[in-house]
Each structure stands twice: as C-alpha cells, then as structure tokens.
Assembly symmetry: C2
Homo-oligomer: 402 residues x 2
C-alpha cells in the first residue's frame, strides 16, 4: 500500500520546510489532491498542514480509513470545517499562539476562490500567502522513486507509439490513431488522463493530429492545437481522416502510478514536402543544441532564447511553437505528477537547472493549412548533463503503404 519509501516523504517535507523558513512562512496548507499525494503518499480528500518545523498532519475528510492505510505522515479526522482553525491551533500551539497572525501559505494557484474564502473564515488567525511557488519548486526536483515511475510511463508511451505506427494507414481518422495508442497505454496502467495544474486545461493522452487540422490553433497551452472532436472538445484528435503526404504529429503521454511522460514524433505516410522536412530538421537541430546545454547551471530562459534565435535564423520565427499570434512562449516544461510542472523553458525562469529536474523539450513548427512538425523528448538533468528518458527511436517516421 505504501506509495513510496518513508525516507522520501521525509526528504520532500524537509525541502518544503526549508523553503518555508527561508520565505518566512510559519505553515503551509496543501489543498490539492496531487500536492497532498506528493507529500503523504495518499490522495484522499482533506488538507495537509505542514509547519515550518516539526511533524505535518493530514486532516482527512474522506476516506479516513483509506488515508490511514496509505499515508506516510500522521493523519487526523478533519471533522467540522468551521472548527478547522480551532483544531489547527490546538494541534500547533507554537504556530498559533493567541493574539498572533502566523503566516500560512497555500496552493492558491489551484485552490478555488470560494474554498479559499471559507478557509479564511475557518482559520481567522492566519495571514494567508500564496505558496504555489514553494510547492512547485520542491516538486521540480525529482526523487529516485519519481524518476523510476516516469521511466515506466516512458516505456508505455514508446510501446504505444510503436503500435500506432505499425497500424497507421491512410483513411484512418486521427481519433482512430489515438485510440490505438490509448489502448496500449491504458493496458499498461495509464490513468486515462494526464493531470494538469493549469486552470481550464485538460489532457487525455496527447495531441495526435495531421495536416491542417493539427495546425488549427486552440486554447490549449501547448505549441500544437488540433481541431478536436467538437467545439466543446476543441483540441487534439478529430474525426478527420489522415491522408498521404501530410505531417502527422504524434504528441503523446501517459500517466502511470501518477507519473507522466511527454514525447512527440512526426510521421508521414509517404514523404514530407521539402519545406516541412526542413522545418522538422530545424526542430531536431534545436533539440540537439538544447541537449548540449541541458545541465545544472543553465537557466531555462536561456534555452528558450537560444531556440528562438535558431528558429529566426532558419527563417521560421513566425512558425515556431504555434503560428503568429497563437504562438506559445516556451520551449519546454517540467513534468512529473503533472504535465505542466516547473521549470518552464521560458522567459522569466532564471533559476538555474538542477540535477533531478525532469523536462520535456518540444521544438515544433506550425504551418497553417498544412500541418505541424516537431519532436519532443523528456530528459532528466544529471550532475553533469542530462539523460534522455524518452525511449522511442528518434526519427521522422516515413511509412510506406504496401
């Protein structure tokens, strides 16, 4: 039943507590299911309270029995929400001495405002602070256990791509292609969705789309959009049949034991036009150059800027990471329990890379009316460089139909 070793739970908590003390927070309330799981090994409904020093408590609403069986940190019944402040004060008298205003952080980037306002009422003593950044920083550096899990997801994704490529035929719809991929992943234990932290963002298994449908812009916070199944599902695979000679973007991931991987390969039935082939090769060149600098000490921002410069040099600036006004402003992103973790390879991310970070790097080029080409691998930052976690062979998949 234990999700990960107790020693990992202890080191995760102590890293958070270190950041909290540096930031002057007296306590931190983790409210999101994924965050709670990361620290406790259990994903039941409740709140995890982490003091800046000492033992945390997992206050559980439901299921208490399951949380008790799974949790690596002490659990307590949440009881009345209105009494939560009184309970916290009783359990942590050093943090909540009468008449003071301790600073309590919370994951405000995901906590709904309505619940936040109720927490303010229930815990009137607290001075609230947005602790999202602390939590994201702790989670950006992966443990041995997490890297092993991501490897498992990488294996499933590679197997799924193999099967998709093996069965790819002209006339097959984008939906049919992703269904083949999803079946292999699901059998391997894919949760069915990939968790995302971003508001209004959702992802099932990725973005499998071809030709002009792949190039349709979307709300999705990624370089490739996709037509989707309807205006109510306006992203990713559509009912459009795949034709010969058009770029097929196979951007897939899966979530096994909670951990996600992300990878992209480009395929074509027949051959790509010279323009698209050049763009694909530029994406590969950007990936190679990025790999050279993918090591502790490099800033995420510099990797993005380098890629932008290379795309511009190749005369593809307007096509890079989406087209024109629909471009996204990043080259890659952290990945772990969620698909949109830190750091982001984007402007403003100036904290240098550290060993243990896991990043998906995804240079892509969009040609409206034509399609999207690109490549994406997930990497672990090591002491002196990086190790590729993506297991799929890296090539342009040119399929000859018999």
């Amino acid at each position: 039943m234990q999700a990960f070793p107790r020693s990992e739970a202890e080191s995760r908590l102590s890293r958070l507590q270190h950041i909290m003390r540096e930031a002057g927070a007296d306590g931190c309330l983790v409210t999101q299911n994924v965050g709670i799981y990361y620290f406790t090994g259990s994903m039941q409904t409740g709140y995890l309270f982490v003091p800046a020093q000492g033992e945390p408590t997992y206050y559980v609403r439901r299921s208490v029995a399951r949380a008790k069986a799974e949790s690596l940190v002490p659990t307590a019944e949440l009881g009345s929400f209105r009494q939560f402040g009184a309970k916290l004060a009783a359990d942590y008298p050093a943090i909540f001495p009468e008449g003071t205003r301790p600073t309590i952080g919370a994951d405000l980037d995901v906590l709904p405002a309505q619940l936040y306002l109720r927490l303010i009422e229930a815990i009137p003593a607290a001075e609230w602070k947005d602790a999202s950044a602390y939590l994201r920083r702790v989670r950006s550096v992966k443990t041995a256990h997490e890297i092993e899990k991501i490897g498992k997801a990488a294996r499933a994704a590679a197997d799924a791509l193999d099967e998709g490529i093996r069965r790819l035929r002209t006339g097959m719809t984008e939906l049919e292609l992703i269904m083949i991929i999803e079946e292999v992943m699901r059998r391997a234990g894919h949760a069915g969705i990939m968790r995302m932290r971003g508001y209004n963002q959702e992802l099932v298994t990725g973005m499998v789309a071809a030709g002009e449908a792949a190039a349709e812009p979307t709300y999705f916070d990624g370089p490739a959009g996709g037509r989707g199944l309807s205006t109510a599902v306006p992203q990713g695979a559509s009912f459009r049949p795949i034709g010969a000679g058009e770029p097929i973007l196979i951007d897939i991931g899966c979530c096994i034991d909670g951990y996600t991987i992300d990878q992209t390969r480009t395929a074509v039935i027949g051959t790509l036009s010279p323009q698209l082939r050049t763009a694909y090769e530029t994406a590969v060149t950007i990936l190679r150059r990025t790999e050279e600098n993918l090591k502790p000490g490099t800033t995420p921002e510099s990797l993005y800027e380098q890629a932008l410069a290379m795309a511009a040099e190749a005369g593809l600036a307007e096509h890079f990471m989406g087209f024109g006004v629909d471009q996204v402003k990043f080259l890659g992103h952290g990945i772990g329990l969620e698909i949109d973790e830190w750091p982001v390879l984007a402007k403003g991310f100036r904290e240098p890379l550290e060993a243990g970070m896991v990043l998906a790097v995804e240079p892509k080029f969009t040609f409206p009316g034509v399609g999207v080409v690109g490549i994406e691998n997930t990497y672990l930052i090591t002491e002196d460089g990086s190790r590729q976690l993506t297991l799929s062979p890296e090539r342009l998949y040119e399929i000859t139909e018999s």
Copy 2:
C-alpha cells in the same frame, strides 16, 4: 462550426441576466472553460463578461481566431490583463461609472484564488460576489439542444455496456472490462474524460469494479469508490481479476460534444448471494418510488429523504450510498456539460424540480469486503413527470459462462 442555435445562446444569457437582476448583480464574469462554452459556443481561453442588461463580450486571450469563428456572442481581444479593468469600464460605462463600486459576480467555486486575487487588482472598481449559484441554476434547466446531445451520449453508453457485457469473462481484470467500454465510447466521440466541477475530482469513464475492490472507500464524491490502479489513482477500476459470483458494478458515462450521461447496471457471472440480490432489488424499488415523484414541484431534498427512509426500512441504512462513515449524502445529481451539476438530490436542495432538468438517480448499497450493487438512470424532468434518457435495458445482468 456553430455549437448550438443563436436563439439558445440568447435564451441562456437572458436567463442568467434575469437571475443577476434579481440578485442585484451588475455584471458577471465567467472564467471557467465549460461556463464560457455554455454561453458562447466556444471554449477558448478568456473571460466572458455578462452585464445585467445588454450585450455580453467574450474577451479572448487564445485562440482569438478560433473564438471569432465559433462564438455566438461578440468577441474582443483580451489584451493586457492589467488593463482588463480599464477595458471593461470603457466597454461598459453604464456599469462602471467613475467613483462607483458595481457588484460583479464570478464563478468563484472553480476560479483559482490566485487568479481571483489578480482579477481584484485588475478590476479594482468591482465589488466581487460569488455567482456560482446563479450559473449553476441557469445550467440546471436544459435546452432542447442539450437534451439531444445527452441522448447521443446515452446511446454510446448503452452500446458500450452491451459490448462490455458480451465480452465479460471470469479472470478479466476490471481495467480490461472498462477498456472495452471505453473503446466503444471513444469511437462514438467520447472526449476521453467526463468534466467535473468539484475541486480535486476527476473521472474518465466511470467506475467499473467488482467484489471487495468496488467496496473500497475513496475520496471520490460518489457512492462507490473502487480500488483504482494505484495509490495515485485511488478510484475506479483496478488490476484485480473479476471472479464468478461477485457483484460487478458498471457505473459508466461518456462525454460527447461536451455532454455527459451517467448510468449504472449491476452484473454477475453466475448468480448473486441472496443478501446482495435483496439489496439490488431494494435499489430498484427506491428507483421506482423516486420515479413516481420525479416531476416539477417535488423538492430534491424530499427524494433523498424518501430514499433514506426506504433503505432504513429494508434494514440497509448503513450500506446505502457507501458504507458507514464513508457514505455520501445524496441520491442523485444534475448532469449536463459536467457530471456534478445542480440540483443535487440531497438535504438543503429545497427549490422544486423544474421541467428541463436532467438528473442521474443512483441508489446503491455497499458491503465492505463483498461488493457494491445498485442501479442508475438519467432522467429528463418533463411538464408532468419524467422521461428516462438512459437506454440500457434495466435488469440484473446475470451472465452464464459456457
């Protein structure tokens, strides 16, 4: 490209505006993707501003092009977030005259606190109000278009159940059974997930689980939990093989063109024990009695109380809708673009049912260590009663293995 008729968009907005005027709100900001889609027919990133009187504006960040092509209400580029307040004041001078504090509602039940705090800064003139209840009330009464879409999802769910039952065998895992079901649904256009409004809640296609694994309690806000695939996915189907003689709960739904259905059937390979059969029949009796009162004028609360009384009469109070402390406190729920809509058949829901509401009613009984039995249909409230939308034959599926 048009998601639904313009006249529907107009009637949806005018119902919201009516509620807003009654509640004294000057405007309403819809921030959630599903809410934006409901009113505009487009699900791009941005904010929908609805004045209490007059034309709304859909302020779009990305993709503007796609929103312009899809939206049934006027669109504008969002531009700088910091200038959003100034832009709103310029576009709606009657609502934001200088020196006043107009009351602006927002969907605070889903809007993350961090973004809420940024909106407070960007639109300093606004006096904010939680408009979740208005939005949920408007959406609780479905239009003709919505009912047709739910019917499409019902057809796919019924076909999927047929195929699952046809291929069900002892030794098959719960995951394998749900994979069969998912394949049929996905081919019919299932989005891959069912959207849920509740914080930290997620659902792929439902809860397919058997024997003691089905009876394991979870965080999920439903009567049946399920072991799940791991502690990080602690809900629904597991890798556990299905055995003969154990109850198999097949609680499934799908999301087609954005609209969901929800239904449950109980199956067994061989026969059920007398205890479980009695419980199953009690669930059916509760459903029949509920149907009798499922009509305009009945309060949701009274249906829940009636079901509780019937479960108690049958000596099954402790097993009803989960076991003991892990019970959920409802009999059913509204359903539409999300699986957890209003009204809930629960205490506190005293507004009478209205024609056009769509409800899933799901009496279930949980026996720890043994399994879960029950039934669930989705119904449309009509002028004088209700119409069942669920299309699967209603019976205990007893499967004879050859």
